[in-house]
């Protein structure tokens, strides 16, 4: 438990530690490809060290202990005594996961136990390479303690030697040097080139120490050493400073405050719209130099409010990098577990998306990527046989188009087997056989988003959760997003999601049904047809609209919403899920920007109604969710 007076410090620590862990995770992934990259090793070591320090200050012992042991490992790698293997990396990743989890639990006010297994594994990961030295090392540590040099414990030999060289000759502890000597002699000789070099270096230094015991230390040598040290230190400090500056540019604000601001701007936008309407009426009726002035001021206010709206929206926007940076690790773990070789290529990480969407997208994306690796990417041997590169590629892309942001997951695997999809859909009783025959390829592909489709999938270690593609589709549509799937046999699968840039304000068509007004978000509306010019027939008891050569299912909104009969003034054709659907309304009242307000906790999520808005004259108008309405309609037919 974190005492109250430490809460603030803990929160700061948590934020910083999470950042450090993210970067550490990425560095470790990079290091797996390039195990001797000194810069990365240094950075990883520093990250772990910083976490250890922060946790130590707060007395979070389990974190300190794990970070300390992991730091030891990284230290050995840095000094070249240990080579990073995927196995060692696994242990380090476990340490990272543990620290992440521990921070979360402390945040929840829980206690965290010392993870003995993990600590033992961290120790044995180290011992695996340095077993013969361990006993001697212990002795060395004891001696260091004895001579008040305990800060050197666990440091690589040459670093200890370096420190000793800096001591005045008469203060250099004889025993320690002897022990170091022994340690160097027990070093196994059958080590990597790099390590050999290091041993040579330390032996050379060792000799120097011995020589220096007799004569006066060479001043020049010492100076050089000092200079090198200072230089190194300066470099490090510089790097740290750059980091600090970056941190200071970011201000943490309570989301609630931003939401309040959003609401106020929302109201302002609505009132501006009203004001503009009134003014334009006024200006039509009276013309004077005052109305000219009014027009000028209004157009300026119009612009400012527009800019303000965008600026406030932007405070909620975050680069998708925040989300994407989790995936190298996800891909690594899943592909390792499934014995696949996969490279993750990410594009457009600076694309920005509303924070609330970003947060909810992690699980769906993990699921899609997991599917790509599990069902898409072939095992390496099979890929070679097929003449494909051994390593599969998964592309994770984000980009803007119009006023929407697109997120794409694309793989170069075997593609979706339509026949299998058909078979599975039949088995699960999702569609009937003759219906299946009539379905287009696209419609068949979309069967994977059907709730019944993936229920058989067990909660596996790979996914961790039993979500199916239907959950993915639902999450996407809950943010007024769209999802599309394209697949080519043998070439791969591409899943494209699109989201509105902002979620607070949407352009909607205001429609009248009977004596009630509803809002229909404009983004999915394809066209609006006047009722008298439309051709309506029935196909197997269902009303459909014939437009040009297309047959579009028709949903009578007043019936579905339970308002009673009303005449069909217009048919609104919209793109819902994967198809065109027409909705009947009595009258159109024009389009407006509306501020979405939730209906409140008491209602929860109502399928078919996505929220409400308050119009300029204070009326409550419900916002229709066409996706949910279609689902209701389909259910009512099937019953």
């Amino acid at each position: 438990m974190i005492p109250d007076e430490m809460k603030e410090i803990f929160e700061e620590f948590a934020v910083e530690a999470r950042e450090q862990l993210e970067s550490l995770e990425n560095d470790m992934l990079e290091l797996e490809k390039d195990p001797e990259n000194e810069e990365l090793l240094n950075r990883a070591f520093r990250s772990m060290h910083t976490i250890k320090g922060g946790a130590g200050f707060l007395g979070l012992n389990p974190i300190v202990e794990v970070a300390h042991k992991a730091e030891d490992l990284l230290g050995l790698m840095r000094s070249g005594e240990l080579k990073l293997t995927p196995e060692i990396n696994d242990v380090i990743f476990r340490a990272i996961d543990f620290i992440k989890g521990a921070i979360n639990r402390y945040e929840e006010g829980e206690d965290v136990e010392m993870p003995e297994d993990l600590i033992n594994d961290l120790i044995s990961a180290k011992e695996g390479k340095t077993v013969s030295k361990e006993d001697e090392k212990q002795k060395l540590d004891d001696l260091l303690d004895k001579h008040g040099l305990s800060h050197l414990k666990g440091k690589p030999i040459e670093e200890i030697l370096e420190e000793l060289i800096l001591l005045p000759p008469d203060k250099r502890p004889e025993e320690v040097i002897k022990e170091l000597d022994k340690l160097i002699s027990v070093q196994p000789v059958s080590k990597e080139e790099a390590e050999k070099k290091d041993i040579e270096a330390s032996q050379r230094m060792m000799e120097e120490v011995k020589v220096e015991e007799d004569k006066k230390p060479s001043v020049e040598e010492e100076k050089k050493e000092e200079e090198r040290k200072i230089e190194k230190k300066e470099k490090e400090e510089k790097a740290e400073k750059v980091q600090e500056q970056q941190v200071e540019k970011v201000l943490r604000i309570d989301v609630k405050k931003i939401e309040d601001l959003m609401n106020l701007v929302g109201e302002l936008v609505l009132d501006r719209n009203r004001l503009l309407r009134i003014a334009s009426n006024l200006i039509q009726e009276h013309q004077s130099k005052y109305t000219d002035e009014l027009e000028a001021v209004l157009s300026s206010i119009d612009r400012i409010v527009g800019d303000l709206q965008i600026a406030v929206m932007k405070t909620r926007m975050q680069p998708v990098k925040r989300l994407f940076q989790k995936f190298p690790r996800v891909v690594r773990d899943i592909s390792k577990m499934l014995g696949k070789e996969v490279e993750l290529v990410m594009e457009g990480e600076d694309t920005e998306l509303d924070k609330s969407i970003l947060e909810k997208l992690e699980e769906p994306l993990i699921h899609i990527i997991r599917n790509s690796i599990d069902h898409g990417i072939e095992p390496p041997e099979e890929r070679v046989r097929l003449g494909k590169p051994r390593k599969g590629v998964i592309k994770l892309k984000a980009y803007y188009q119009g006023d929407r942001i697109f997120i794409v997951v694309e793989d170069d695997g075997r593609g979706i087997d339509i026949e299998k999809v058909k078979q599975k859909a039949l088995e699960r009783g999702i569609v009937s056989e003759d219906k299946l025959e009539k379905m287009s390829e696209k419609e068949l592909l979309f069967l994977i988003f059907n709730p019944g489709f993936s229920t058989a999938e067990k909660v596996s270690e790979v996914s961790g959760r039993g979500v199916g593609m239907d959950v993915v589709a639902n999450t996407v549509s809950s943010f007024r997003g769209t999802i599309d799937v394209e697949s080519q046999r043998g070439k791969g699968t591409k899943i494209t999601m699109s989201f509105p840039l902002t979620i607070g304000i949407i352009r909607s068509i205001m429609v009248k049904i009977k004596d009630r007004i509803f809002a229909i978000p404009i983004y999915s509306v394809l066209e609006i047809l006047p009722g008298e010019s439309t051709e309506i027939t029935t196909v197997s008891g269902r009303e459909v609209l014939i437009v040009r050569d297309m047959t579009i299912p028709l949903i009578n909104l007043s019936e579905l919403l339970g308002i009673g009969d009303s005449e069909i003034g217009y048919a609104i054709v919209a793109w819902v899920g994967n198809q065109r659907v027409a909705f009947t309304v009595e009258d159109l009242l024009g389009d407006e920007e509306i501020v979405v307000k939730p209906l409140g906790k008491l209602f929860g999520d109502i399928e078919g109604i996505s929220g409400a808005t308050i119009t300029g004259d204070g009326k409550v108008v419900l916002i229709l969710d066409l996706d949910g309405l279609l689902k209701r309609e389909i259910r009512s037919i099937n019953v």
């Binding site: 109201e267 409140g600 209602f603 109502i606 409400a612």
Partner: protein, 157 residues
């Protein structure tokens, strides 16, 4: 410690030893006198235009706009097993664990003060009694104190 009593403390003590007085907003639904703890009452207003919400249970009459907030409005009569003869005239906005919720009432009686020891446990059993927290005898008749959180919890979808 206990011996040192600052001036004036004695009187205050004496008062606090007396039974606490609880305040309720009394309203009527048909012939019943019903009380909501005053601490949970946010405001009282006239019934304005209520917009019905499709696909929601019948006791949620709809939503209203209360100074820019969308607030659900509940009709309790059917929930409490009361007939529906009299017309609703007012809305009492309560602060519940599900946020602000408006309750339609026939009439607002006013604030009713009741000493805490005059509260009696609910004597009734049966379908509607689980919504009743306490009852108390008053000059205006038997006051039924409603557990609004229990109603909203069961009303939530």
């Amino acid at each position: 410690m206990a011996d040192i009593v600052p001036v004036g403390e004695k009187e205050i003590r004496k008062e606090s030893q007396e039974v606490a007085i609880l305040e309720f907003l009394g309203i009527t639904l048909e012939d019943e006198l019903i009380g909501f703890p005053l601490t949970e009452v946010l405001s009282i207003s006239k019934v304005t235009e209520i917009v019905p919400v499709p696909f929601s249970p019948s006791y949620i009459v709809g939503v209203i706009n209360l100074r820019g907030d969308i607030i659900p409005i509940l009709s309790l009569k059917s929930r409490l097993g009361l007939p529906e003869n009299k017309e609703y005239t007012m809305v009492v906005i309560l602060d519940t664990s599900f946020g602000k919720v408006g309750i339609l009432v026939d009439k607002v009686v006013g604030v009713i003060k009741i000493p805490a020891n005059k509260l009696e446990p609910n004597p009734m059993t049966g379908r509607y009694s689980r919504y009743i927290r306490n009852v108390a005898k008053t000059d205006q008749g038997l006051l039924i104190i409603i557990d609004i959180d229990r109603i909203t919890k069961e009303s939530s979808l």
